[in-house]
Symmetry: C2
Subunit: 73 residues, 2 copies
């Protein structure tokens, strides 16, 4: 799975664990709903600032959102 899809999968997992819709997450993170959807589908090479905003909205550490890459060589 490529990096962007892997990140999108991780984001969706955290979002659903919080019981949030894409719209609710987007609102918390001050991002557009369609942007959150495109990130979850792996269509975005997301930036540092947006990673941190999403982590804040999910009440997790930004580093946690990148733990899905801990096994890559």
């Amino acid at each position: 799975m490529d990096l962007q899809r892997k990140f999108g999968f991780q984001l969706k997992k955290k979002r659903l664990a919080m019981g949030l819709s894409q719209e609710a997450l987007a609102e918390r993170a001050c991002l557009h709903r369609t942007y959150v959807g495109s990130v979850e589908r792996g269509e975005r090479n997301i930036s540092l600032n947006n990673i941190v905003q999403l982590a804040k909205a999910l009440q997790c550490k930004p580093s946690e959102l990148l733990e899905c890459f801990n096994d890559i060589e």
Copy 2:
């Protein structure tokens, strides 16, 4: 310190701990030397793909590069 400068500081710390020049790190990460310099100065809202490439070049986990944000509210 803003997000980009905080990341840049963390990147420089990891690079120096590896005894690498900006040029050597850039070469390992398949990025341009001037780009690595601008990230370290906090001038770039770096993307996910480049974060992962730099982590690989530094032989650390991508999540480690974002640990500098663990204390932000």
